[in-house]
Symmetry: C2
Subunit: 673 residues, 2 copies
């Protein structure tokens, strides 16, 4: 959070008018990456990227189409250049690692039109050893006061053939898809993060950072391996309308020699965000685990709607509070607590009431009851996409929660039927400029009241948790509920795909831990028991749900032990081994003890390995509590419940044999002795 070490920063190395038309370059601190900005013969700015001399991105255009002014695309010349370097380390209030290193070289190039308008664009690029971010700044200037951006022309022309892992962008207006794995030339229009592996083994991911007051970027393939930004549309006009000065979000590309280093490179997204605006967050938000009245609705044994099956009753909630208190879970989510769920709540313009409970839910009494047991109610605001109604009630709704000690809220934006209904009556996308503003508004209003926010059907994560660390998690991918009722359910490869795509962007509230291994009507979940435990380590979130029913946990005390033990906040994180879409083994050290945890997961193939424990603290002995797939464990058979729980004493010099069954996993707690 705070910048601990500013070794060198803001060193202006060159800021002079320049005459010649030579390209401008910047290299990363180690020299591995080289970024070049040039102008083509028509004066179009083009950027390119090389790694160790080999082309990664061919010359790729930059520019904008405006709705009320000539496009910003050609006739530019470079008129000013500046360079800076930074090498710093900052502390996160919570995260996958306590300290994040920010080491980059920066190039700032000011471009001016040679035509009479003489409009200005400024490119700011930060080059790290494992990736880059660049943004276009629109400086204050006489001939452009408001930018109405219809299209952003930023391109990424990938130089090497390879494979892509991606979900379609701009389709169903959310991010809930299984991943496509295709040749790069088979991508259509994708959401970011999108991950690539070149045939030579280089790992790339394109995403964005600090999506603030701007439309989300989709990536559409033009032809060959050339991608171009497409901005999420607006229902009312250009995708983005901004008064100058302003800057686009950072366009980010991670560049790593293997999948594990790609995973680590995602710190770049945090580094490109502004420092925290909530210096005291540590006093009111701590990572934790929670339970909730939720899975039973997805099983359809309970309902959100009032009636005989209503889940959000006082009695049922009390049962969850008791369960949470007995097992060390901090919070209890209750969906369906407020009026609005009866009838077709998917319908457009549906109104929820966020300021009072149903008659069946004693909000005040339950809050007190919970706090008496050291537990909190987790709030819930399903908007059905009607942010007009939600924003009107937002202050009062959050005030209510603050009064009651409800210090986290899950929000929801299911808007399948009509789209997002904005305050001005327009209909909007989940990831357009309107929603980028809305989500930050909710986060800011919540922060004022010391409430943490966890949106479902959200806008994508672009690292804003650094700036607003009360934005603790979100959904934004196909989560566990698809294993309740999905057709298909989440195949084993899905969670492995998530690790190398969606999870590069930030925490996900995946809601793991379904130890019953069954969904609606008892249909089996394509997972082993050990895999459900491994997910707590594999899919990072500072709030982790134990999503199954209390009675199911009661039936599986052995595996449940791991869910109770595993923390949600980490001192360090290291991917020990992994291949995109195939498997991953991740080690994380608890931030509040000396314990380490390992989670492993595989796709549909069983895998065996010897796990070297070199990541453990040297010279320390640990009790390894190993939750492994048993000999018959297989996501396709009854063997999926076969789990082998063993213990052994180890040190960092040891190796542990690992075996993951088909669709399986492994979870290990290394308890420091």
């Amino acid at each position: 959070m705070r910048n601990l070490f500013w070794l060198m920063a803001g060193m202006l190395m060159l800021a002079a008018a320049r005459a010649e038309a030579a390209p401008e370059t910047v290299v990363s601190p180690s020299g591995a990456l080289r970024f070049t900005l040039d102008t083509d013969p028509d004066g179009r700015p083009v950027w390119s990227l090389a790694r160790e001399g080999g082309a990664v991105v061919n010359p790729s255009r930059l520019g904008f189409i405006l709705g009320d002014a000539p496009k910003l695309e050609r006739n530019f010349e470079i008129v000013e250049v500046a360079r800076h370097s930074a090498d710093s380390r900052w502390e996160q209030p919570w995260g996958e690692r306590r300290f994040v290193t920010d080491r980059h070289n920066e190039l700032v190039v000011t471009l001016r039109e040679k035509t009479p308008l003489k409009r200005l664009l400024r490119l700011r690029v930060r080059l790290f050893d494992d990736g880059l971010g660049f943004r276009i700044e629109f400086p204050q200037q006489p001939n452009l006061t408001t930018a109405r951006i219809v299209e952003e022309l930023t391109e990424f022309d990938l130089a090497q053939p390879g494979t892509a892992w991606w979900i379609p962008g701009g389709e169903w207006n959310r991010y809930e898809y299984l991943y496509n794995r295709t040749p790069i030339e088979g991508v259509g229009q994708a959401h970011t993060p999108i991950t690539f592996r070149t045939d030579a083994g280089l790992h790339l991911s394109i995403h964005e950072a600090a999506l603030v007051d701007y439309a989300g970027m989709w990536l559409r393939r033009v032809e060959g391996q050339r991608f171009k930004a497409r901005l999420s549309p607006s229902g009312t006009g250009p995708s983005v309308v901004r008064d100058l000065p302003f800057a686009t979000p950072w366009r980010v590309m991670l560049v790593a020699p293997d999948a594990a280093k790609l995973y680590a490179a995602s710190d770049i997204i945090l580094n490109l965000n502004e420092p925290s605006k909530l210096p005291d967050i540590g006093t009111w938000f701590r990572p934790h685990k929670y339970v909730g009245v939720w899975w039973e609705m997805h099983l359809e044994t309970a309902s959100w709607a009032t009636g005989p099956k209503l889940g959000a009753t006082t009695a049922n909630t009390r049962r969850y509070i008791d369960f949470a208190a007995a097992n060390g879970f901090r919070s209890v989510l209750v969906e369906g607590w407020n009026p609005g769920w009866d009838g077709d709540w998917f319908a457009t313009g549906h109104d929820f009431d966020f300021t009072r409970p149903t008659p069946y839910f004693d909000l005040q009494g339950l809050s007190s009851y919970a706090r008496g047991k050291g537990v909190r109610i987790m709030g819930h605001h399903e908007t059905a996409g009607n942010i007009r109604v939600y924003e009107a009630q937002l202050g009062a709704a959050l005030d209510l929660y603050q009064r009651l000690g409800v210090d986290s809220v899950k929000t929801g934006y299911v808007a399948d039927a009509g789209g997002i209904l904005a305050p001005d009556g327009s209909y909007q996308w989940h990831d357009g400029q309107v929603m980028s503003r809305h989500h930050l508004k909710v986060v800011e209003e919540a922060a004022k009241r010391r409430i943490a926010v966890n949106p479902h059907e959200p806008i994508k994560d672009t690292g804003l948790r650094r700036t607003w660390p009360n934005w603790v998690a979100r959904e934004g991918a196909r989560g566990m509920e698809y294993n309740a009722w999905g057709n298909p359910k989440n195949p084993p490869a899905h969670e492995v795909n998530l690790i190398f795509t969606r999870m590069l962007s930030g925490p996900m509230d995946y809601t793991p831990g379904i130890l019953s291994l069954t969904g609606k009507g008892g249909a089996p979940i394509p997972s082993t028991m050990a895999r459900q435990l491994a997910l707590y380590v594999l899919l990072y979130s500072p709030i982790q749900m134990a999503a199954d029913l209390p009675e199911n946990y009661a039936r599986h005390p052995g595996p449940f032990r791991f869910i109770k033990d595993v923390p949600a906040d980490w001192e360090q994180t290291e991917m020990l081994a992994g291949e995109v879409g195939a498997f991953a083994l991740i080690a994380r050290k608890d931030r509040h003890s000396r314990d380490w945890y390992v989670g492993g997961g595989t796709d549909e193939s069983p895998r065996e390995a010897e796990l070297p424990l070199a990541f453990l603290d040297k010279g320390r002995r640990y009790e390894a509590q190993i939750y492994a797939d048993g000999p018959t464990a297989d996501y396709r058979t009854e063997g999926r419940a076969d789990i082998a729980i063993t213990k052994r004493i180890v040190t960092s010099a040891d190796r542990i044999p690992i075996r993951m069954g088909a669709g399986g996993g492994v979870a290990i707690r290394f308890r420091a002795l």
Copy 2:
């Protein structure tokens, strides 16, 4: 033009409220094609297409995202169904064939939302034996008065794997690209027409018909082989804003067992357009050939700008008029005749003056001089995309031409620098709703003055020449000028690709006939001499330019003979043989004599064949005047100029050996004896 035979039309076969939820189907007249409309469990309308029992299009969605109302996408039920049949033949005033057959079965399905808004959509599909068109009608209704369409959700999920020929859609804001040939799964976002050949050999093309007051449709591949409409954007708001009632353009799919039948199937696009609004067009427009002050500018031996190299001088134009009169060309195009070309005319908001000539061009005198020789000046209106200025001057500019007897005008929309500048000050795409209106406005204003229109950098052709037959041709693809200065120039496959893609949409002013076979600085053109002749038959237009310099034609009197002979209006057209992107042999019968013509062209591969002459009129003798590639003809070598001109007497029972060199072609006139 007139409907000659209405054998059966408007027969209402069923128009009753229906209760059950069964899918509605319609079969084509022969029964070959079957179209099905259904609603999925969420009430989304989905259509599919089968041919002889095999799936061609998998269930594909329909719907719209609106900017100010809930999306029209689900919760629909079918409430009304009607069926009609038509079998008619109508006469074209000019075209590839005199009579066009329109034989289809029609299904009209009214869908109504089950939600309280109860909004209505009506699908009208016309099923031919070689393709279909469907459009969505927005009937007058209480809960939707103005549609602000942000996205059209029409999908085409192709059922069979195959190959696609396509150019990127929505890129450089025009259509001037070389074609990509990729697997269907390799398409990004494409303009239409886009052509497919399935691995089983079925030929498909997707396009649209009657693009009136709506945004042009791009096709973007979502994933797999599923394509979705993307409407050309607007600089000001939703892609389309229309008051109800209205209908979308027809979404067209041609379906044929081979490439030649695909070519013939394109009549569907004409059939889906409204009949002519200009019944007297035959009295004031006749297809013809023209020459012009044009190629020398692309060679940069003359200039559009005033100065020593100005091409549009009175003296130079007089030279072209003399040449046209001496060789039977009806019109002389002169670019650069008006003020506005000096300085950077590509610059945004550039103003041309359309109502007066430069001092160097005696418009009045030249018009009289030309008419005295039976020749007309062809007008020229380059707008540089500034339609604000153009529309302000349009009436006066066309009045001027009408006064002078200038009865055709080439318009231009080079707008590279800034985009199209609309009358309201907004910036727009070449194929958005604003331009769909603009082009029809120009065509209508021109029609009032009996002037034919030929836009370059146009909106795409969607068959509106049927309704407005003074819209005689357009560019809308990479034309001959790229052989003057392009890098690369048009490779031989390009023109063959055009035949099976761009040309399915309608006439193109490709401007063939460069007998010098050289571009700027004497650089060779990738074509043989015979190929330049063949283009007059291969690439249909009712106005065909002899684009080379008069002095070059003087040097090649043998081949030039064919250019003088070949007509621009046809009684019949038949593709004798062809493969998409490889080669084509097309026979056409002169509409005003008994002569037949054949044009053949190949890609980079030489080809030989025996050409059966069964298309010729039975029992008639012809002198075949054969312009063939000579033995050394090859587009890559000096042999490109090697042409063999021979004559022989033939009948329909004969066969002629054909040999086309690499990048070559063949042109034959069959002069009826």
